[in-house]
């Protein structure tokens, strides 16, 4: 067994050595160098596509998914080795995808065979980019209060309503969306629909954020027709799917707390000479950051072995996002007035400041920190309501 794994590691290392382009072993220089795929993919560097296609051909964009759905069919131990080898060469993520990190696990658990075969391979290859239709203007932390309706029209649903904070809705090809199919009950009246963003009646409007960027949109549905076959899970059981998926979303967001794979800009700044108080703050931050890296490894290992508490993603999300906010506060302090430039080339168009501001959403999106603490208190610590 362990000899097999040693051999797998050797082969993986050799393959990555031969196939990961040099440019893809450096950190992305801007958001534009993050690969998202989709029908209209954007590649700021040609090697992004080379790297994505090579990894996808082996199923390694989703190494632990079954191979019939475009995955690599790897065991938990092999997946861990692949991840370690990718980290070793500081390889970029070949594909950022809500399809991989959020919808995929829900499809694997709740999808029909036809739905899995239709959607999973396209997610794995980065051909279809997905967005998430959860929050609404009047349903934020109280998500189950959502009102977007899906009316039964025989062989299809007619969807009407509005979503908000839909990440990259203006760039996404398909949406996974929570809709109300029964107005008389709250959670038990919610269903989970998948539909094409090119459907007539779908429109999006980007929201300008304090970072000056617009990663989120308002999304409007005006008599959008959705075939009944696009229902994921049972009618009025969408809340189960939604919660399952939220667990995976929280895992993904918790990863923001890990920092990058390249040089740590905080350490670089400290080396240039931070004052003693800032140095101490950075050093204590690094203690938590490195401990959280171990926590992430432990969490994934426990998850794969079925040993993780079902509410543990809430802890990961809470800790990881608070850590990420702290990191960027320190980076701004370390960067001084250089980090304040908003448009200059030297600042990569204000990358530091815009990222700092963007991270403030981390503890809001996917369930606020306060919601996560509620979940930990009730479901893990068993504290009374």
């Amino acid at each position: 067994m362990s000899e097999d794994l040693d051999q797998f590691r050797a082969e993986t290392r050799a393959w990555l050595e031969a196939n990961c382009p040099a440019e893809m072993r450096t950190p992305p220089k801007s958001d534009r160098e993050t690969t998202w795929g989709g029908r209209n993919p954007e590649y700021a560097h040609p090697d992004q596509k080379v790297w994505l296609d090579r990894m996808a051909a082996r199923g390694w964009t989703v190494p632990d998914w079954p191979s019939e759905y475009g995955g690599g069919g790897l065991s938990a131990a092999e997946t861990k080795i692949l991840r370690e080898e990718l980290k070793r060469i500081k390889a970029r993520n070949p594909l950022n995808s809500f399809g991989i990190s959020m919808l995929g696990p829900a499809l694997l658990k709740y999808g029909t065979e036809a739905q899995k075969l239709e959607h999973l391979p396209k997610i794995a290859r980065g051909e279809i980019r997905w967005c998430q239709g959860y929050s609404e203007p009047n349903a934020g932390s109280d998500l189950a209060g959502l009102q977007t309706s899906a009316e039964d029209k025989g062989d299809r649903f007619l969807v009407n309503g509005q979503k908000v904070w839909t990440s990259y809705a203006d760039k996404a090809d398909w949406i996974f969306c929570l809709v109300r199919t029964d107005k008389r009950v709250k959670q038990a009246g919610i269903s989970f629909l998948l539909f094409d963003m090119a459907s007539p009646g779908v429109s999006t409007k980007p929201i300008l954020l304090i970072s000056g960027n617009s990663p989120f949109c308002e999304t409007f549905f005006d008599n959008v027709e959705v075939p009944k076959a696009n229902l994921l899970g049972e009618l009025n059981k969408g809340w189960d799917v939604a919660k399952y998926l939220l667990g995976h979303e929280r895992e993904m967001i918790s990863g923001f707390g890990l920092g990058g794979t390249g040089k740590d800009p905080l350490v670089e700044a400290a080396r240039k000479g931070a004052d003693p108080i800032l140095r101490a703050q950075i050093a204590l931050f690094q203690v938590r950051s490195k401990a959280f890296t171990a926590m992430s490894e432990k969490f994934i290992d426990e998850l794969k072995a079925g040993k993780a508490h079902p509410a543990q993603p809430s802890m990961m999300k809470y800790y990881g996002t608070e850590l990420n906010k702290a990191r960027h506060e320190l980076q701004m302090a370390a960067g001084g007035s250089d980090a304040l430039e908003w448009e200059s080339d030297a600042s990569h168009q204000g990358a530091a400041a815009r990222t700092w501001l963007r991270t403030k959403a981390n503890s809001i999106e996917g369930g606020t920190s306060e919601i996560q603490l509620n979940i930990i208190a009730k479901r893990i610590l068993d504290l009374p309501s």
Binding site: A76, A77, K80, V267, A270, R271, A274, R279, A280, I282, A283, L284, Q286, V287, R288, K290, A291, F292, A294, M295, E297, K298, F299, D301, E302, K304, A305, K307, Q312, M315, Y318, Y319, E370, Q372, L373, N374, I376, A377, K378, I380, L381, D382, L383, P384, S385
Partner: protein, 372 residues
């Protein structure tokens, strides 16, 4: 290797949990304190630890031990921490055993440790803060050395059979295995805040033979580093037990204590603080297991292990300090009483947080090794 306990380690944990909760619960510590016990621990209990095989966990099989690792030692330490059991386990069966490993001196001392007859103490610190500085001198004298200087914060140093002493020699540091009853050695026991006993030691020309040297003369940095890595990781594991025990006791109290007609654990102000504490303890636990696994992974992982040990000690210091503070605060008035146990957790955590360098010391060490 996955970052959770394997089946054998889980079995050991269950055994240690049952045994320590039954033989050395908090009431055992309280009874020793109330009897004004002058040893600081129970020799009978130490013998029982040996009978359970615990004292041989880190001793190689070739030397009659179990040949297990820091993960297994940590499993026992966590239960010691959870029960606040006074025990020479950390200094003797973990730190001293690791320092002696592979040396000629090991043959002299391992049998007594395996049998639960030998208790070791660590004479490392010379100032109030652990800082790595060593002023104690060991001059060559006849066939051996003559030790002169002072040490402090030597847990059980007044009754130990074996003292591990770091001293300056001609061209470096040397670690010595000194018998506790050596001539010229004066031990002044000091009761600490948690009612454990640590000695101030005065060495006035204490003469030892050449075979008291652990490893090679002037080459003490190796065994001393092993001692400190084992001690820090072990103290971290014990702190996970102390912090975890305080947290569990506090969360239970939040469920039971009623004010305004409801359980106080239904108040969101307390729920959020408890949930934050849980998160800090979980992250600390992961850091400790990572350090233990890296130490067990062998010399090729030495650099990664050194960093992980510093992270573990610093992180458990932060998390456990929070656990005991929240513990006392959330218990309210009874948390301040001697009759209630939560205060003992606060005292023990303070001692362990200080031992082998506190969170600030290790955060600074991480910064220095990262080049800032």
């Amino acid at each position: 290797m996955p970052l959770y306990l394997n089946d054998d380690q889980t079995m050991l944990r269950d055994t240690a949990k049952d045994f320590i909760a039954s033989e050395a619960p908090i009431a055992h510590m309280r009874a020793l304190r109330d009897a004004d016990d002058t040893a600081g621990f129970s020799r009978t209990l130490w013998k029982q630890f040996a009978e359970m095989g615990f004292t041989g966990i880190l001793i190689p099989e070739a030397d009659g031990g179990l040949g297990l690792g820091h993960v297994e030692a940590g499993v026992v330490l966590e239960e010691i921490g959870r029960n606040l059991s006074p025990s020479p386990f950390l200094a003797t069966a973990v730190a001293a055993v690791e320092a002696l490993k592979g040396s000629a001196a090991a043959r002299a001392w391992y049998p007594g440790i395996l049998a639960g007859e030998t208790v070791a103490a660590l004479a490392i610190d010379e100032g109030a803060k652990h800082d790595g500085r060593i002023a104690m001198q060991a001059e060559r004298a006849g066939n051996g050395f003559r030790l002169t200087g002072a040490k402090q914060f030597v847990t059980n140093g007044h009754v130990a059979d074996l003292l591990l002493v770091a001293a300056r020699t001609g061209n470096g540091t040397t670690l010595f295995a000194v018998a506790g009853d050596a001539q010229g050695l004066t031990a002044t026991p000091q009761r600490l805040a948690d009612s454990s006993i640590a000695a101030r030691l005065q060495f006035d020309g204490v003469e030892v033979d050449a075979d008291a040297v652990i490893g090679e003369v002037d080459q003490g940095d190796g065994p001393l580093a092993r001692l400190l890595a084992a001690g820090r990781t072990g103290a971290s594991a014990e702190m996970i037990g102390v912090g975890g025990g305080a947290m569990d006791m506090t969360v239970s109290y939040l469920r039971e204590r009623k004010q305004f007609g409801v359980a106080i654990g239904s108040f969101q102000a307390l729920q959020h603080r408890a949930a934050h504490l849980y998160s800090e303890m979980e992250v600390a636990r992961a850091a400790v297991l990572k350090a233990q696994q890296l130490l067990d992974a062998g010399p090729e992982y030495a650099a990664a292990a050194a960093e992980a040990v510093a992270v573990a000690k610093a992180m458990t210091g932060l998390a456990t300090t929070l656990a005991v503070q929240e513990g006392v605060q959330m218990h309210g008035g009874i948390g301040m009483t001697d009759e209630f146990d939560i205060g003992f957790f606060m005292k023990r955590a303070r001692i362990l947080a200080e031992m082998f360098g506190d969170s600030n010391f290790h955060a600074n060490a991480l910064a220095e090794s990262a080049g800032y």
